[in-house]
Each structure stands twice: as C-alpha cells, then as structure tokens.
Symmetry: D2
Subunit: 281 residues, 4 copies
C-alpha cells in the first residue's frame, strides 16, 4: 500500500535549545520511502542519524533563543506486510532459538512494569495453550476492559496505572499490552506510527509481540486498520520513542499529523479477517 504521511510541528524557543526529532518514517525491507522532504522554516541546519541499536531515524538541530520555527515532514511510503498463518505461529519455538537481539524486549521498562503483573497475567491468560493465543486474548481483553478516553492519562502513566484506571489513550493500551506479554515471557515492543483513518488524526501507538520468529502487530484500540500503518519507531516503550527530545525551554504551539492512502480504494483491514493470519511488518 502507498501512503502520504506528514507532520508539522511549530515551536517557540525561550532558551538556546537542542532538539532531537523522531518523526521520519522508518526504512526497512517492508517499508520503502519513495520520496520525502523535511522543511524547517525559517531554515535551520540539521543532521540525520540513527543509533546503533535501532533503525529509528533522528533529526538533530540547535535553535537559538527567541526563534519560532516550524518543522514539516512529508513522505510517500510504500508498505508491505506478511500475513503469517496460524500453523507457523503455533509451532513451538524454544527460547534458546530466539534471536538474541530480541532478549531486551522481555525486560520491564519505564511504562511497562511486567514484573508487577506476573500474577495478573498468569491468572487471566496463563491457561491459554500458546503464545499467539495469549497475545490475541490480551489484545481483546484490552479492547473490552480499557476505555479509550482523551485526557484520562498523562505522560507519567504506566501499565499498572492503566489497569487500575481502566482508561487511557493509544500509548496506554500499548503499554499494558506489552507489559502483559512480557509478564508471560513473550517479548514485546512499542510500535510508533502514522496511521490512516485515525479520527482525530494524530500519531498512533500499537505493539508487537515476538511469536515464533516474527514480530506480529496488535492494536488493542482497534482504531486504525492494521494495514494502514506507517512505522516510525520500535522501542521498549513510549519513553524511548518520543516525537521530540529537547534540551531547553520551549513551547509547542501547533501540531498537525496526517496519513492518507494514495489509492482511493484502500480498505482498512477488517479486524476479524485478521484472525485467518497474523500481520507482520
């Protein structure tokens, strides 16, 4: 599928500030950037880089006190994904054969205190026969038991907070999903994305569980089609994948995020159809 994605962010700068932005679509075998542009108005020098343990793309720049600027990213991205059939997912994969680089995604993180949710996870999902069934049940449980409520949360909320509040936004659904997977020894990670058909448009967050060698995508909010995602970042949780990290005194004055399929006849992936095969980007 081909998508046009864009984000436009405006800031007022009250002290000399260094910014690190993570808003560019990721480059991978399953996600090809056909074209992209990054325009900063007024013009400010910037540098792009990735860090060694990830494919997340960062932009860094220094902005002087008193400046007001806008950063606009736009890209045309072609995504593909594999549909992994149940037989493949249900084949037992011993931990010893797990890709080594997956190992960190079994540990708890700032917003995903899987270590505190061992008993809860076991009690609610532990009797299911395999990791795929558990991850699907977690996704369903989140959709049924947690309410999507704008303003019900803040940047400090973690998985146990969301469990108690039973409400949150997309990042909170993702965090609780990740924490429950890890509590059941299923590696899981945060998936930051542009998403089509989100209303209102915004950045989106889902999660991936590592099942029999594949990172399978789950969206417990069911707000976006699973085929309508353009990946920005993989991370332990939202704390590792912020849109912007900055060192200075600033104010964000405007934000606009868009994601549109180029083809007029794009159909968001019907949720239940997915049951015939899991999606891996």
């Amino acid at each position: 599928m081909k998508f046009t994605v864009s984000s436009t962010l405006s800031y007022d700068i009250f002290s000399d500030t260094t910014f690190f932005f993570n808003i560019m679509a990721m480059k991978s075998d399953t996600q090809i950037i056909e074209s992209e542009s990054l325009i900063i108005t007024p013009a400010i020098a910037f540098e792009e880089f990735t860090i060694k343990n990830s494919d997340n793309r960062f932009i860094k720049m220094e902005v002087k006190k008193g400046v007001s600027f806008t950063i606009s990213y736009q890209a045309q991205v072609v995504t593909s994904y594999k549909q992994i059939d149940e037989q493949t997912l249900l084949k037992p994969m011993p931990f010893i054969k797990m890709d080594h680089d997956v190992l960190p995604f079994i540990s708890p993180s700032r917003h995903c205190e899987s270590d505190k949710l061992m008993e809860f996870a076991k009690k609610n999902f532990g009797s299911l026969p395999d990791a795929y069934s558990k991850a699907l049940a977690i996704e369903d449980w989140l959709f049924t038991n947690i309410s999507y409520v704008q303003g019900s949360t803040n940047s400090s909320a973690s998985a146990t907070d969301t469990l108690v509040r039973t409400a949150g936004v997309c990042k909170d659904f993702a965090h609780l999903g990740i924490a429950l997977c890890r509590a059941l020894d299923i590696p899981a990670r945060y998936f930051a994305a542009y998403a089509s058909h989100l209303n209102p448009p915004d950045f989106h967050a889902c999660f991936e569980a590592y099942l029999n060698g594949h990172w399978i995508i789950f969206d417990p909010t069911k707000l976006a089609g699973l085929n309508g995602l353009v990946k920005i970042a993989s991370a332990m949780d939202a704390s590792e994948a912020p849109i912007a990290i900055y060192f200075g005194d600033i104010s964000c004055t405007h934000m606009d995020v868009q994601c549109h399929p180029v083809s007029p006849d794009f159909t968001p992936f019907n949720w239940d159809l997915r049951r015939g095969g899991a999606i891996s980007y």
Copy 2:
C-alpha cells in the same frame, strides 16, 4: 590492576528451563581478560553471545527438569582507567555534539523514573554550575541521605521508592543516582560489577554519568574502591542487567561471588583523592 574474580551459582530445576547468564567480565580496551573459565557441573552445553546494542556477554543454555547444576565462572582480569581532570570535565559540551549512542541514556527506565524527579533534582542540584558538580553532589547526597540496609528493598523498588524509604542496597543507590542525573539532562547508566573489598562479598552496582564525552564512574554507597571494579555490564538499569534471566521453574540454592586484587599491595582508591580527577573505565 589485576583481579581474580569468580562467581558460583547453583540451581535446582523443576521444569525444562532456558537460562541466560550475564556474569562474565566485559571485554574492552580498558579491561583485558587474561584468562577465564566457565565450568558447568554436570556438563551442560552452552553458547556465548553478545547483543548488538551492548558489550554485555551472555551465556545461554537449556537445562532439563530434575537437574541440579552449578555454574562456576572464574577470570583473571586486568583493568585500567583514565583519570580525567576537572578542566576537561568542566569544558561545556553542547548536546548537539553528544555521541549519538548516548541518547537512550537520557530516557527514564523501569527503575529510574527520572521524569517524576525533575523538580526534586532541580531544587536540590539545579543551581550547581556544571554537570560534573551536579553528579558529584548527587553522589554525596545519596551517601548522606540514603542508608545502606540489607533487606530494606526488593526487586521491584524504583528510584522514587528509594527516595521515600531513604534506604536501599547498592542497586537502589545506583537507580536513584541515575534518575537524578537524567532528570538534570545528564545521560547516566547502570554499571554492574565485581568489586573488591565488598563485605559481605556480592555483585556490586554503581552508575556512570556521561560528562563531556567520558563515562565517569560514581559509587554513592562508597563501599568499594573506585579502582577495585571489574565491569560486567552496562545497562539502562538493573532490569536490563540481571545475573540470570530464565524461562522455567527453578530455585537458586547457592551463590558465591569473589573479587580479589592479585597484587598484595593494592590499595582501594581513597574516595576523597578522587576529587582531583574523575575516573573513567
């Protein structure tokens, strides 16, 4: 300095279990392994690996239900360290020039909720003129205000818990130190080590702050000499650097950890002498 380090861990295994151990001394320019051995009794096949974002060395192995085994690691390690003078540390280093791979160490993590400690950190250390002074003041503050008390903590404790309890063990000191540094925009990471002169002998934890291009070591417990450390792992916090990760039902029945200088006239680094120059491994 040359050290003999060893650790011996015994386990009873109640279900087929996969283990990942992280007990081997790290290899680096400043830490040379002269010799090492890993003996598992009874013999069990194992594999060594590192993951792409770190130099932490892992051993993995599968153990059958019903087995009782002992893993014994022993090594002779030569460590060196640089003494960085204050002039170097005090030179202002702009964020934009920071090594990119340091960026993750500014984010909060499971046990280091730096995002919750912004005001506390600013209020107590924010008026100090530079990052090095802040990190030193944090180390001193921890030593003065937090009590080292065996059994005062558990594996779930985080930096804010330790702040409220005012007591902990070495990992808790390290976590609160890391969180306070990150809250002040100083990258900081967990440093798991063998340490000489610890009483009782055990694994040790310190922290490193990234100051003007150097990872400087701090030990707020003041329990081990700064020149008596043999590094095992760098990590966001203890959740990323456990001695053992396992998938199965087990019980640890015995643990012995040793670290001894080979030279009889080794003198633990006098804490206050350090003030003339920071230590970087």
Copy 3:
C-alpha cells in the same frame, strides 16, 4: 451461638513502651460477653477505654524496658445476627435518609483508595440494578479473581496494590471490597474479628456494606462461616484497627489466637444458603 475466644501475645521490651491493645470482643446488642478475663504475666497495671466515635475496646498499659510479658485474653461470647431478606435490602434508600454516622464510611482511607477505583468499579459492577447486588458481585469477584496467598502482601499494601497483584490475605480482600463499595457510593467498613474454623487460626478480617439501613457482612475469602464471627472492631480499614499500637522498641515473640463454638453441633453457615438473606450483626 456461643463461642470461646482467646488470644495470647508475648513481647520483649527494649525501651519503655506504651501499648494500646484492641483484642477484646466488642459489646453490643448482638454480641453479649458472658465472661471474660485479661491476664498479664507478669502483672502490669492496665486501663480499659473506648474512644468516642466507636465501640472498639482498648487496653492501655506502660511496660518498662527489659520486661518480657504475655497478655492473655479469654472470653465466652454469645452472638446473634439478623437475617435480612432481599425485599428489605432492595427497597431503595435515598442518601438523604442515611444515618449521619455512616457518612465517613463513604470516604477513601489509607488502604482503600476508592477515589482511584471509580472507573474500575463502574465498569465491572455499575450496571447491576441495586447496591445489594453490587456488594454481592464484588464479594464473588474477589473470591474468583484474588488468590489467598500467605506472604503475598505486607502491611503497606492498599486496595489498588491488591488489584494489580491479584493476591493477598484476608485484610487485603477486605480492603479491596471496601474500596470497590465506596467507589460505587456504598458505605463500607472494616470488620476485625475472631473467626471459628480458620486454618491456621488467626485474627480475621471481613467487611460490612451499609445497605438500606443495615450493616451487612461479607467475607470475600470464604474462609470462615458468616455465623462463626466474633467482632473485635469496626474501622475505616486495618490502619484504624490494629491488634496493638505501641510507642517504643519491642519485639512480638509469640501469638496464639483461638475461636471455638461451644456447641458441638455448630455448623458454619453454608455460603450459598446465605443468598436467601443477608447477615447483619
């Protein structure tokens, strides 16, 4: 029903200490003390009192440094209870007619943060038609979803902790039950008791919900018969009803608690039979 209850507590005293004990059976219309004795060995002067807002009976005494003593309470108590039929409980009672002294039991307390559980309570029990059905459903939910596990908790645990851990002991069940009731605007309070047929014998904790003018008893652990309780104290939560409050440096060296029906043919109240009518002490 007639019961013999007893508790024997021994202490070593390391500094001059003032004790307040709350181990005596409560006196009320439905609980008659036929005989009781309190023996302190060696003899120490004590005074009995109640405080103005409750019928909880306290013993206070001063003990000198260096003393080791045992306090032994024994009583023969006749309890009665009313069985309130559903029709009575289901009659709507407007808040405006609620006994004024019940008002405090709608507020959150140390271990019952009902204010944090509003959404959870509404989501899980809010659709039930009346307060009695809600309280019954809470009791059942606790029995099904929380595991009774010795050692799974500590004195600091609160209702939200228990919700996340899904495990606790009798006080934790009571706290979560109370918090969920209050979150649904049902006044609820802690019920500390001697209980027959507890294994191992110990002090017990249940909760009462205020339903249409009656304090109805619930025991979500289902460990004791509802007709086998001898009340010690009513309280907001366990923090207000400790066995002993003390000011000094002490160690409890022994504790024995007993509660036995005098009649050999006493039958613990069958749980399901209760459904035909709620129990009010």
Copy 4:
C-alpha cells in the same frame, strides 16, 4: 478577632442529587458564631447536622435533576486562641496520659501514609529533642523544600507524592506535615479553614499537632496569618473534610470564598513572633 466569612457555590444538576456541604464555621469555646446565614437560591429544603465523632457541621439537601442553584453561606465569627509557652509544650507528656480521642490521629490515612515515611522522618527530624521542636522543624522544612504551585497537584495526591514532586497546594503541605508528625508518633490532624489575606481567596488548609495536651496549629505554606483563621473542620485528612460530598451527576459552575477581619487594624500574626509561643485554637 472578629471576621466576616462567606462562601458562594453554584451548581448545575444533571441527575437527582443528594448533597452534603461542610462550609459552615465550626462552633467551639474559642470560635463563637455571632451571626450566620445560609441562603439557597432557588430555595431548597436543607437540614443541618453533626456526626458523633466530630464538630464538623454538615448541611444536607436533595436537588432535582435540571435545577441550577447557588448556596451562599455568610457568618460573623469571633475567634480567640491560646498562646502556649514553650515551657508548657516541652514538658514531657507520656503517651499513657494522652486524651483517648486523640488516638486515631496517630494512624495513617488516605493522603497521609505516615507508615511509609518512618525512616525519612526519623532521619530528618528524629534527632530533635522533643515533639514541639520536631513539629516546628517539619513546618520549616516544608516551607523551604516544597513549592506552592497552583495546578501542580490533583485530588489524588498523597504525602509521598508531594515529597517526590516537591510541589503542591495548601492541602498537600498539610498532608505531608501530618504524615511526618504521625511517623514520629506525634498525633496530627487536618485543619480546614477560612483564612484572611489569602491571595487569591480560597478555602485554606493547615495542620494541627497534638503537643502536651494542646492541638497546636501549623501553616507550612506561611500564606495566611496564624491569627487569621476561622475553622471549618478537623479531619484525618482532606478526604474526610471535603467542601461538598454529593451523590449524583453535577457540575460546579462558580465558587467564591471570602474572609475579612472586621477590625481595620487587624495585623496578620507575624510568623517569627510565634516562636515565643505556639498557637492553639
């Protein structure tokens, strides 16, 4: 001193609602109500009551769905207070002689988890020679270390939250003060009041510590004169002394609170002068 106090609260009512208001000045030996009026517009029947364990005055009323109403309370109140000299406060008072009704105020409560702050309190204030010095030091510590910041808190915040955030409003200062006192075995309670010279005008919260038989007032915000207070309620903490408890769906649309000395030459009590003698209402 004579004060005119008033509060005016307006509500929109979306479902039949029962209200309990606690906005009337308390009646006591040291606080005489010369005149007062309570006007509800449009007229709604109400009833006044107190509950047995306190002198807090409640108004209750039922309001129908669809009504918008305003409740206006106004009173002229004469307050007096005792100045207790240091000699009196420093006389050691054994716990055994403590007024029994004070006992509950040593327990932790919803917003004052004194049980979690034992070590912190001991470490920071435990070496002071007597309870009065400790309470004064706590008040000073709060004033110095906690920032008064509107909007830095919410109704859920507790003493340990405030300790970590180092910011709050008057209720948070009071809660942390109460918790630290109780952690040191000093009974302490919440003091809700009208206060002159508050800017902006609002309800105010202080705390009282029970010292040698007297409830001594402390205001760690130092925002109001200690002689400018008109007491509304005593309570374990704010959860027991809300302005309004309601059962229904409502919105508060307006609030105005006033407190003015009648005498033009009233001078707020100079903080430091207080050092010559503590204030007891």
